[in-house]
Symmetry: C2
Subunit: 345 residues, 2 copies
């Protein structure tokens, strides 16, 4: 039995990186040595007391597992470099998610896929995708998902620290002025986000989709192994700090039974049903923030015959760091040896 793993967190000073460090500790991941890396300008900082070094090849020397939360282009360069040294890379960037040689994993849904990683990289899905697949996947297994229309209510932390700072700055300015803002007070969003919603996330691509919407489509198909799944989605930024909500309207091959749907969701790992709207109980971003599960409520048939529900998960946890740490847990549970390292065993 190994006495623990050498684990690196790359991008350790960002919100997701910090969460990952905290979760490795809180969930008692068997860490023998923790290495935190970030960009040169963050080197020298500390996260939870651990020093942060500038990203270099040395970080991956003798390293077992690395959780990456870095910009796509940094991932493109460094994830393969780490993997080529035998490190199991768990990458939160979009870079490799659709690579057929990279498994895209939500442990509760397709955990064993971590074993099939020809490039040594395992990809962590987009935060919105992870949120709405948590309840959809077990329902798909039972009823066969045909089509899903989803609209998101995404928090500013999904746009990183700049998004959080812009919302706080604008909130304070609005409180002082006593009126809505006319101009954006930050770099994350070109429109004010306080008292506003912004119906476009990411870059705009051919066909008028945003990059966020294309991720949700393609990643859903890959994770559910359902290449013909129809996904219609509108991704919208709302003035919340933490927690992505998604309103889901789904059509299945077989007609779901509502009582059974509730049973399936109650039994689904990582899913919590909060569904007593008459008593004001339904999922909200504030209720999900800082917590692990994907919360599901407002379960019903809509007026168009779809199964509908509202799901919220903490985008820094299930949408990012938690799922990454769960992938690491899955890897060491299914493959405790990782790679033989007798000298250090």
């Amino acid at each position: 039995m190994r006495d623990g793993y050498v684990v690196a967190v790359v991008g350790a000073t960002g919100a997701v990186g910090r969460q990952a460090v905290g979760l490795l500790e809180a969930r008692r991941f068997p860490v023998r040595e923790l290495r935190l890396a970030a960009s040169p300008r963050s080197a020298g900082k500390r996260v939870d007391g651990h020093p942060v070094v500038a990203l270099s090849e040395e970080v991956f020397e003798g390293c077992d597992i690395a959780i990456f939360d870095v910009p796509d282009e940094v991932s493109r360069e460094w994830a393969p470099r780490a993997a080529s040294r035998g490190v199991v890379v768990i990458d939160n960037a979009a870079t490799f998610r659709l690579d057929p040689d990279v498994p895209l994993v939500i442990p509760e849904i397709n955990g064993p896929r971590v074993l099939d990683r020809p490039r040594g990289i395992i990809a962590n899905p987009n935060c919105t995708t992870a949120t709405f697949l948590m309840p959809l996947a077990p329902l798909h297994r039972r009823y066969g998902l045909r089509r899903v229309v989803a609209c998101s209510y995404q928090s500013v932390s999904g746009a990183g620290q700049a998004g959080v700072e812009q919302l706080w700055r604008e909130l304070r300015a609005a409180a002082e002025r006593g009126e809505p803002l006319e101009e954006s007070l930050g770099s994350a969003f070109s429109h004010p986000i306080v008292f506003n919603v912004i119906p476009a996330i990411g870059s705009v691509r051919d066909g008028g989709h945003t990059s966020e919407e294309l991720k949700a489509q393609a990643e859903s198909r890959k994770i559910l192994e359902h290449p013909t799944l129809e996904v219609g989605i509108t991704c919208v930024r709302v003035p919340t700090l933490l927690g992505h909500g998604v309103a889901v309207h789904a059509t299945f091959e077989q007609t779901p039974d509502l009582d059974e749907v509730r049973e399936i969701l109650r039994a689904a790992p990582g899913v919590e049903v909060v569904d007593d709207p008459r008593s004001g109980r339904y999922p909200t971003p504030l209720g999900a923030a800082g917590r692990d599960p994907a919360y599901v409520g407002r379960i019903r048939f809509d007026g168009a015959g779809n199964l509908a529900f509202f799901v919220v998960a903490d985008n820094l946890r299930k949408g990012a760091a938690l799922n990454a740490v769960q992938i690491a847990e899955t890897v060491v549970a299914l493959q405790p040896g990782l790679r033989p390292q007798p000298a250090r065993a």
Copy 2:
């Protein structure tokens, strides 16, 4: 030619009533005499300089047109009383909207329906319904709407002054504390609304729908005269002050052509296309607040073959007061005599 009409605004001290008074003036509605009425505790106030009296039968004595924005139960009692005196009642409550003897009118869509009002009452639609039907109706006429899935992003002013006050109070408290609130600071919403979204509006009914969602379903079918229209909708409150957004994913009998869709929407009265997302141009609540049109953007086919778009309108204007004043304009345009009143002509 009449030298103008005796117009009453009932519920004149509320946000919608005030808007109606302002719009009657701004749009130069031919008012000979303006009478403002409200509950006894608002009597004695002034709106735009006009005195407000307590609601009584006298208000409707010799009155031509009355715009009501009052609670459903007040409307139930007083709208028929006013109508029985020959007043043309334009009612913004939900009370009569589905009454087969009451036309439910969005002037740009079904204006001439105002003429067929056996009960003397014309109903003004729900604010979210009005918003998403503005672009959907002309598309329905061309392509035949089969099914619509819609998710709303509704501002707190839709919950009245209490909603607006709660959001401001919570925003100031969050700015002072520097952190999200754990408890609601108002009577409008039982959860905090600042930094939050609330996926339930109105009361919860059989089948798990909210009253707001049922209104959108039934009113869409009535206004479009399309009793088999499938409407799947999730109504969500978001922390915006003014402007209801709706993400719409619609299926038609005939496949729409995107260029033609844009042409139809550009030509549609009361609709403005704002659709250059690469340049950050799309509809937002802040952009629609205080303005008349329903703004439409993000026009595209989604990944499930639906025509998708995002539409925002000011819920106090197109969603309420503006539409009511437009109904009054339609009535006097089509039927300038209203009822013969030779003694006063």
